[in-house]
């Protein structure tokens, strides 16, 4: 049984079908939900199920009343809570990205310069955590960081500290969680970039008078720029909206926009406000995503 004749009636054939499938997927699971969220963000709150008023009403005979409510957006800019949460999320995402850069660059560099046989093993180790659910791994960090957890027990045993450090439910724990979880997303695109690097360029730079660190700074770093940017975007974009890690490790004071969204939606049942937060977050991140796309396009075009 071939689906082709049926589809051909709609003008879809071979090549079109291949392209149509991802579009269909995006339509169903991105565009439609997005439209629904957008719609809700312009509605009024209501004590009903679902908890918002319809956007349009048909009076049954002559009139269609469409009521676009901008209150929800206005509200986000009047209550400092939301602005602060946005700023804080950006701050946390930014510093997490910077930390990923400092930890991930040497790792990606090390993997790219390792012998091909070792390289695969090292890459496997980077990808290995993905085989376990994120939630489990975050819970594991709770076990490591809590007052009577593994790290405190170890430090007290070898006598570095006498009182347990309070690490869990602090910004420190939150950064540990975020950096730990997103590090592979930084390493992999950077590795893919560094792996293409012609290492003879470094010899040429040394030959022309560069010390090894100068050669790194003048040659390797600029040539891996696209890899750094791609990795940074892959960490920064999801980290801004991150909810699980701050909620579990950061404690009650971790004021992140993902947390606000959750609270508005589930605790306050303020779906319209929550939707407005989501739309605003999206608008905030679109430029970064576009930037990431253009980097990817440049990278695959091969121009540096």
């Amino acid at each position: 049984m071939r689906p082709a004749p049926f589809l051909q009636r709609f003008g879809i054939r071979g090549r079109g079908l291949v392209v149509a499938l991802p579009y269909l997927w995006l339509m169903l699971f991105f565009v439609v939900p997005f439209a629904i969220v957008l719609k809700i963000s312009f509605s009024d709150v209501d004590l009903a199920i679902p908890p918002y008023k319809p956007l349009w009403e048909w009076d049954g005979r002559y009139a269609l009343a469409i009521k676009l409510n901008f209150n929800n957006y206005a509200f986000l800019f009047t209550d400092p809570l939301y602005i602060n949460a946005f700023l804080n999320s950006i701050k946390v995402a930014f510093f997490s990205t910077v930390l990923c850069l400092f930890i991930g660059y040497p790792m990606a560099y090390g993997i790219a310069r390792a012998k091909p046989s070792t390289r695969n093993l090292l890459l496997l180790l980077v990808i290995l955590p993905f085989w376990t659910s994120l939630l489990l791994r975050v819970y594991a960090w709770i076990g490591l960081l809590k007052a009577n957890g593994v790290i405190n027990a170890l430090l007290m045993k070898i006598g570095i500290i006498h009182e347990p450090l309070s690490m869990l439910y602090t910004p420190f724990a939150m950064y540990v969680g975020i950096v730990y979880s997103y590090l592979p997303f930084f390493i992999l695109p950077l590795y893919a970039n560094l792996e293409k690097m012609d290492w003879q360029l470094l010899e040429a730079a040394e030959d022309l008078g560069c010390r090894p660190w100068q050669a790194f700074y003048k040659i390797t770093l600029p040539l891996s720029r696209n890899g750094i940017l791609a990795g940074s975007m892959l960490v920064f974009i999801p980290a801004v909206g991150e909810f699980v890690i701050p909620a579990l490790l950061g404690g009650p004071n971790a004021l992140m926009i993902g947390r606000i969204l959750w609270d508005e939606f589930f605790s306050n049942r303020a779906w319209p406000v929550a939707s407005a937060v989501a739309i605003l977050l999206l608008i905030l991140l679109v430029p970064f995503m576009m930037w990431y796309q253009s980097i990817q396009a440049r990278e695959s075009a091969g121009a540096r």
Binding site: Q200, L201, K218
Partner: protein, 379 residues
Amino acid sequence: MSTAPGPAVKAAPWKDPHATPYVEIDRVTKSFGDFKAVDDISLKIYKGEIFCLLGASGCGKTTLLRMLGGFELPSSGRILIDGEDMTGVPPYERPVNMMFQSYALFPHMNVEQNVAFGLRQDRVPKGEIKDRVATMLDLVKLGDFAKRKPHQLSGGQRQRVALARSLVKRPKLLLLDEPLGALDKKLREHTQFELISIQDKLGVTFVVVTHDQEEAMTLASRIGVMNQGEIVQAGTPSEIYEFPNSKFVADFVGSVNIFEGKLIEDEPEYVRIGSPDLGGTIYVSHGISAAPEATVWAAVRPEKIFMSTAPPDGTDNVVRGSVQDIAYLGDLSIYLVKLPTGKVVRVTQPNTSRHAEAITWEQLVYLSWDSSSPVVVTR
């Protein structure tokens, strides 16, 4: 072989025992595990020379070059450049520059920035950098391409950028790793002569690594033929070609017919070699030093063999054979002639006339050569 305009060195300082060498490689060995890539090489290179290291891939020539550049450290022995011991001197402090086989141009910089890189690194004043880069780009005829990125250049242009970049720092010694390897034949010939004229203008000493014997012949003031980590013979191109010291060198440089045989007459003025290969004796009009009854090899270059349809005068060094194959190359033709013993002899004849009476396949011909032509080697 081709006549070169000649490198900057006109005299032959290697013949003068009192001349000070500019680069001295003193019993250098480089081992990777059990494998000796470079095995106890000693070599003296003089100022203004173009010294070619010639050998097949894996013979250790690139390793030797990389040790001169400081990218590899000798396992033992030392290297002196202009009297200074280079042991422990890293590449960025050596008065040496290298032109890499891949050219290794920095892809994120344009031509000008590539060439200026080394000077910037040395904190040369801005104005001077500008002048020197401009002069160098003019020298390699790339003045109009200063703002191009490497990927916008052709292979030959990249090669010249790489050359300019390695010369602009005025190194005492320039190392070139297969400098013309990536260019097509026409461009390569043209560039060879350019390279020599630039070297002549600047007077820099060149050490060139190549596997292409023709390239070595054209460029070099002297050639060091390498095999399995050793220098088998070092000498001027004509010495290497006309007086190879071993079967390996005779065979590696140019093409040659080698006849194995035994000395049957060994006099100071001449020798006679009985060669089952040839199915006769070879008369050589100069004495050689070899043990009596030793196995020797007589090497005769294809262009030194005369071919005729009528029997030539004299009886020494004449054999008969039938033409098995002919390759017409325009300026000359190559004939493969099969002797009654089964040995195939390579003969080249210049096509001096346009309508020569042609020798064809299967024809019986006489081959002969002058008694001074064979080179007799004992290993």
